[in-house]
Symmetry: C2
Subunit: 264 residues, 2 copies
């Protein structure tokens, strides 16, 4: 069998990336790991996030993956350098592709970023955007309640709207034309976020950008699967699968592959 | 030195219990452990919660504590029997004292319980209340967004109020006269919860009931500290202390003892 692509996230959010990769690379087999026993990463320290990320990567690398996708913004913000140092395969995070996509979309060169406390605290998006284009202005805002809202399934009620209003208030007078959804849960709140920031602000969902970058990287390294035949999808979690399975169908839109539990 | 009392919680919430014990037993030394690297427990499975609870207890027991307080409702719901089996010291959870207090408070014998998904899913309060008094009626409701709201510091804004309205709606026609706050974070939302359920419903905060039960148990076993002298307070966490310290002052109301990080 051809080697698979490994994807990990702190929980269920990375399934938006899994779905985008499945669409962009239908011939590739995918192994997804959600660290549901320790979710969320977004409220934890860099040291802890790095430790957990290394354990997730190890599990996938032992399964002989040919590329590693870090489908978690918090983990991408902190652990990409060390994951690249330790692993001799392409390692792709969600922040670089999202930042590039935002830069190609913005006209005003004023970009907003929202994410978990850890991602925003790391300033990973801000640093990278400035590195790519020193002339860009970046305004960031942590939105800690967005993840619990999505996991509760409150995607479009009054609470979701009012929470979005409070968090996104700070962008009102910033004249941004592009807003990076710097957390894989946030695309599920797109309608509410769009309503608050207005139609003149483009929303950047990194999932598709990640899939494109991965495709390019695999082609460049001649790692694309040439054999046809059915692709295999394996989902793993670190806690019992029940809750994951329940939320996963919101993310994947329909039936999900069977989920196995493992220990890290 | 006299042996200390050990207290653990998934994170910062158990500090309400720590504070009540400090008030009730000012001569006792206390060691608190918050498992902040893996918080929350309330969305995780019983297996995972039991595994984490055993590790927390082990850390404290190795420090020669004379009694163990499980200051987390989720952990109390799942791991009390195994913790008692494995440890030869008094082990006190938050559920039994809270249930007893509710039973002595109710006149209508109709009691409401709110808590995390795991606590409510376990039906630990319902089973215990019925065991103590078969004639009692229990209505339960999981409130998954309450913990993130407290941790965000949104204790009394519109979002907190509307979230409480949605969750507590189910109690409207149940004629309960007593509501158990089955999560150590919830006492911080007392004003909002009281406003929604009305002044004819008494709110049961287990922290004080736990402290009383602990005092009684220590007296019974002749374990109360007889020596006078300053009490020592030690706080440990499994993630970096910064975020814990920030939220902890909301819980303890003022300056907190220094916090050390440990690995489990």
């Amino acid at each position: 069998m051809e080697r698979a692509i490994g994807i990990f996230d702190s929980g269920v959010g990375g399934l938006t990336v899994f779905a985008a990769i499945r669409r962009a690379l239908p011939d590739e087999s995918l192994i997804y790991l959600g660290d549901t026993a320790r979710v969320p990463y977004g409220t934890k320290s860099s040291e802890t996030v790095i430790k957990y990320s290394l354990q997730c990567a190890k599990f996938l690398v032992e399964r002989k993956i040919k590329a590693l996708v870090v489908a978690c913004n918090t983990s991408s913000a902190y652990s990409l350098p060390i994951l690249r140092e330790k692993n001799n395969i392409p390692v792709i995070g969600v922040i670089e592709p999202g930042a590039k996509k935002a830069l190609s979309a913005t006209k005003s060169k004023r970009i907003g970023v929202i994410g978990t406390s850890a991602t925003i605290g790391s300033n990973a998006y801000g640093c990278l955007l400035k590195e790519y284009d020193a002339g860009v202005s970046v305004v960031s805002q942590a939105c800690p309640l967005f993840v619990p809202l999505v996991e509760e399934g409150w995607l479009n009620n009054e609470i979701a709207k009012n929470t979005a209003k409070i968090y996104l208030e700070s962008f009102k007078h910033e004249n941004i034309d592009t807003l990076i959804l710097g957390c894989t849960h946030y695309p599920l709140l797109k309608p509410v976020i769009a309503e608050v920031v207005g139609s003149n602000v483009g929303l950047i969902d990194s999932a598709e950008a990640v899939a494109e970058e991965l495709k390019m990287k695999l082609a460049e390294k001649r790692l694309l699967n040439k054999k046809s035949g059915p692709s295999a999808y394996q989902l793993y979690v670190t806690d019992l699968p029940n809750r994951f399975e329940k939320i996963a169908s919101d993310f994947l839109g329909g039936k999900i592959p069977s989920v196995k539990r493992i220990e890290l």
